[in-house]
Subunit: 413 residues, 4 copies
Amino acid sequence: MTVSQTVELEGHIIDSGTMGACFAIVMDMGGEFDVDAFEVGRHKHEETYCRMRVLADSEADLRAILHELNQQGATVADPRDAVLEPAPADQVVPVDFYSTTNHPTFVRVDGEWLAVENAEMDCALVVDRADDDGTPRVHTTVLNAIEAGDLVVTGETGIRVEPPERPREADGSFGFMQGGVSSERPSTSLIEEIADEMRSVRDDDGSVLAVCGPAIVHAGGRNALADLVRAGYVDSLSAGNGFAVHDLERDLYGTSLGVDTESLEHPRSGHKHHIYTISEIVRLGGIPAAVAEGVVEEGVMYECVDNDVSYVLAGSIRDDGPLPDTITDAVEAQDAIREQAREADLVLMLSTLLHAVAVGNCLPSTTKTVCVDINPATVTQLLDRGSAQAVGMVTDIGTFLPMLRDELLEHPN
Amino acid sequence: MTVSQTVELEGHIIDSGTMGACFAIVMDMGGEFDVDAFEVGRHKHEETYCRMRVLADSEADLRAILHELNQQGATVADPRDAVLEPAPADQVVPVDFYSTTNHPTFVRVDGEWLAVENAEMDCALVVDRADDDGTPRVHTTVLNAIEAGDLVVTGETGIRVEPPERPREADGSFGFMQGGVSSERPSTSLIEEIADEMRSVRDDDGSVLAVCGPAIVHAGGRNALADLVRAGYVDSLSAGNGFAVHDLERDLYGTSLGVDTESLEHPRSGHKHHIYTISEIVRLGGIPAAVAEGVVEEGVMYECVDNDVSYVLAGSIRDDGPLPDTITDAVEAQDAIREQAREADLVLMLSTLLHAVAVGNCLPSTTKTVCVDINPATVTQLLDRGSAQAVGMVTDIGTFLPMLRDELLEHPN
Amino acid sequence: MTVSQTVELEGHIIDSGTMGACFAIVMDMGGEFDVDAFEVGRHKHEETYCRMRVLADSEADLRAILHELNQQGATVADPRDAVLEPAPADQVVPVDFYSTTNHPTFVRVDGEWLAVENAEMDCALVVDRADDDGTPRVHTTVLNAIEAGDLVVTGETGIRVEPPERPREADGSFGFMQGGVSSERPSTSLIEEIADEMRSVRDDDGSVLAVCGPAIVHAGGRNALADLVRAGYVDSLSAGNGFAVHDLERDLYGTSLGVDTESLEHPRSGHKHHIYTISEIVRLGGIPAAVAEGVVEEGVMYECVDNDVSYVLAGSIRDDGPLPDTITDAVEAQDAIREQAREADLVLMLSTLLHAVAVGNCLPSTTKTVCVDINPATVTQLLDRGSAQAVGMVTDIGTFLPMLRDELLEHPN
Amino acid sequence: MTVSQTVELEGHIIDSGTMGACFAIVMDMGGEFDVDAFEVGRHKHEETYCRMRVLADSEADLRAILHELNQQGATVADPRDAVLEPAPADQVVPVDFYSTTNHPTFVRVDGEWLAVENAEMDCALVVDRADDDGTPRVHTTVLNAIEAGDLVVTGETGIRVEPPERPREADGSFGFMQGGVSSERPSTSLIEEIADEMRSVRDDDGSVLAVCGPAIVHAGGRNALADLVRAGYVDSLSAGNGFAVHDLERDLYGTSLGVDTESLEHPRSGHKHHIYTISEIVRLGGIPAAVAEGVVEEGVMYECVDNDVSYVLAGSIRDDGPLPDTITDAVEAQDAIREQAREADLVLMLSTLLHAVAVGNCLPSTTKTVCVDINPATVTQLLDRGSAQAVGMVTDIGTFLPMLRDELLEHPN
């Protein structure tokens, strides 16, 4: 038995590689295609249109192929409404639920194309008909937030995805993003471009989210980051318990025990300080209380409190303590991170894999992302999620942050 | 002002490097020492004794030096009882609390040396006088379990640490442990030695804890691990939500959708399967229920349920779902992991950094540990915690597990 | 001033990504294009034809664009003969010399398309008119072999490149090649596929070239490799001085000094053995002489000599000695390696970056290549040279070689 | 049969770890020891003396143990002259030749202790009796420079090694060397210390050798390095053909083809430029000629020529070309590198493994070494050769060099 469905592709689908990708998907998955119409954009500003019939051996195969084509931006030629099915139980999705990409997505309900709110990958789509003004809405929902009876989109019908197109030419704002990861690109030039982007986000009242790992403190980038927070270049911060404790410990012990943290002499008994720092913050009632009481007087967390920069500290099974400010429940922490990710216009992922993955999981593909790590594998993994606006830099966070600070604060344009 | 304290060292302190380490500590920390007595073991089976006076410029400096010497096994020459102070509040330790190593430790209370129960690093020591039979007990307590009023050991007085000595000669049981990490050692021979160790732990009714990362499933080691669980070579398992979902997904989807997982063809739409697997396990009520209903019929989690191998699945902020079996609170999960770690005689850390660090944090230095990862940095980090019984292997988990399985099941001695 | 040139593309240019790549090249390099004709292959077995006019602002820009399009397989629509210019001096090329890819290439001379002999990347093309039978020939020439007066191809005119197309479906012979590098693919299955490929090359009287690093000896893969050489699965071997010395040293000292190389006990004074091994081979007059005199009786080099497997040992500035068999001049060594590379039907790159790069530089893109290394960066770098027939495996050479040996020798099909 | 030999140790042998190491050697190698005398240095400025008898089962075992003890600085208690044996042939050493460490070494000849000239590891020691003034001399000789009849030192008798002792306290000059490799140390502080060291070497008319990899050019550190050469902070340079070509190519093509190397736009057809750069330098007759003719006007190689900084370009089998300035023979290149290494007071190893290993092989353990690479494994491997004066930094060469330049040129003290 052969079944078929006609799909359409439109846009800069040749030079973006979309068209080749679609043809490859059909063939790789055992299907065939007949091209019915093909109108190529003759100039670089013209779009291309392709209509083709996809054939497969079974309904299941056809559905699987259409699912993949859909994620590339292909739409079925004869649009019908999306199929909705109620969730059978809390945290349970219908069998053929639609699993989201992080691209801008539209769902056809009652003949109307509705934009999906809060694009996020690997979610279900839930349609809410009972909106106040009578128009339905559709939004992404993570599995654990599904409630019995939620109207969940299933199948591929009535769904349109718009993957970001590769920009045809550098547009000045984030042109380096096309380069992807590279340890072979001039580092200082890249830092200047990142600084430009941060200035431009700031000028547009946008929001910069810094995702921070403890290596920032160990490698000597802490003061530079604190300066950036104070100067208003960071609008929210996402990190783990460890980052905050290391940052606070520098303040509580950096000089008080006579050890000069700049002198490169490793104080022994390091971990005792770590534990005791947590104990002290517990005693005082949390980081804001420690700042209010004057016990913490500098550093990244201090500047966050002092400048009303919101932060999320997410717990992990390797934490000591944790601090009272740390969210220990992974699901609660994810929800808090999701909030941050949705607000952000630019995300700086600074030497952390765990927290950067958690943030990255919640980001729409349209959010600009900079990922800095000394480990090329980390950078590659973080960038490898379909973002069209991501740049990676394999470098030392201990030299990167001071250079970025100098670039932003000493050459303020 | 010069203050001083006499300390003693005894044992194979020269060839183990302990003595040199102690002298270096005193000098690095700005102190001086006078050696009062030094009796060297003339033969390799004789112990060495050293008594020296340590001098420092202030009480604070002296205390810091003694803290470090103590962790090397040095004891003050004239033993007095440990100093106990009540914890000022829940989760708050006294200022000068003693922070533990993971070595066997003894505390002097009322003139008696008490062995510390449950050696674990970076904990406080709490003395419990109100034992049923009247004798006091002392045990490690993590910061978040401290309760107001707990009698916490402070200072360095009355505490004796016994770091494990490097074995003088291979004793047949775990002789390769001295090698540490090496990618330059014959791999097949190392696998044979690990198999020998597992056999010997099993013969002694000991307990093997496998700490598992998702790479086991991706790299093709899943079936071999399932075989080892079924054959009784694994007594408990520690992993994350991701490992369990990948393992279950292979079972739920490995063949049901017509995709042969052995054929190297990557099924597309992978993540949808991942989410749906979780949804299905939620619907069924958890992994044991899924096994009971016959939905899950093979794989690592199946064998765990079928063979009463206990498991802990710890949540993380990068999880999907999670499964109902996953402990999402980091502190609860640590407590469950601590239970496992204390039971274990041999720990296999298999391609996971996060979970291996969490387990490693709870292990006494006397527990044998094998760490396998393809990333040398992971192996180094995991072994670098003072264990005298640890061996690292930089290799591919996808070839390691099948070779270990063959070694154990096909050459059962 | 706008200049233009019409080019043609033909083949499976959409699904192979070629067409998108060509459009991207034009735009990235500041040109424009007009599509004159576009006939899409409606079915997967039909080819697509595209003719477009490329416009640029200057002759230099146009030439640069055409150079890149050419390397993707595009040909100018109205073919003319290639432009030939004599080399001005030894080792000096004309200004606009054509720099080769490693793909099959054809050059139009006197109206005839001549296949380029010995495809190799980054070479010049030299036309030799004075062939015995009067027909001209064209072959790649490395810079240092260029002689004054050689007729060197310049510009892009009259040159046709045929980049290998991505296979549309697994054809049984080397189907896994599409996967590229992956540490997430089932390792044992990949080893079986590599074994199948080796068997099939052997059955076709093809030639397998093993490129070997010293880690093979350190990690315990030496005996397995020696077995493969003896069994006829390796036809030639390329390595450095270090590999050979480590291999010979195992034989000369592995047991003779009472140290059991299988026992994991590192003999001290290792480097002295290394030097003395070289000294002994010098004394005997080289490896074949050492085998003939019975001093070397096993190992990889022994099996090479005993089974007439040719080998190239290339020198490096970090060598000790070197052995008399080692070619110390880099240019001579490259020439010897080039010989080997041209003969090979399948190349195994085993835990060496330097020698694998040297061999890879000489390989046509049509030669099948397997690259095994524990460092993902090495594997990525080696595969990243446009070969359509390359597979990478991030694994431990010390477990890979024994498993490959078992697969080939114990399941000989 | 038990044989024995009495050996002595003297110095800061406890806190340097030497004594523990010696005891461990004896036991690991199956021997026993009796301590005859042990006088411990009571204060940190006093030396310790130990005399012990080493027992082994055979002469061969005893000799092996003594060889290892010797390399730790132990001397036989009853000094006799070293045993000399003539080399049996060119490039052939006597059976029991003494293989050198890179530590300061003394050989007893005719009752006199002679300092070994040009300490270098893994060499033979050759005694030259026929010196002009009648006093014998002893120097290291690599295997391939041994000539038949050379008087080669054999056995362990009459040889004294003085391994550098770990400094007891920071002495201001190179105090960070104790830290070894660390990605957890404040990067900017380390750069300041390296700059201090370079200033101090320069003030003492010492010599700084920069060992350079091509990543310097790719990552954007080229201009900073050129500035340092021009300012006189680099006295000689060691690199490969690739580094020089990339550096020259930037100059020849960086702006001439209209591609702004600072703009991050990757020019296509990169490799053609690489080859053509070599061709042009060949045509001109080499780098100095290209500078003299004004074709090369800036960059690292330009500054070397312009400032009479000597350089060695060593060939490798992965080179294109090579340049006429490149030494293609590995043995000749090693000899040139050896010259450079012997002159150097401070060696900067900058993002190259191959050349840094080659230089490192020739360095005495007393030469100060700084190793910078983004790959921690490279840094570890380079530092792991017994130097007491080495510091490693895991960082991005593209940010390191500009920061070092700024530190040296903008804060010239």
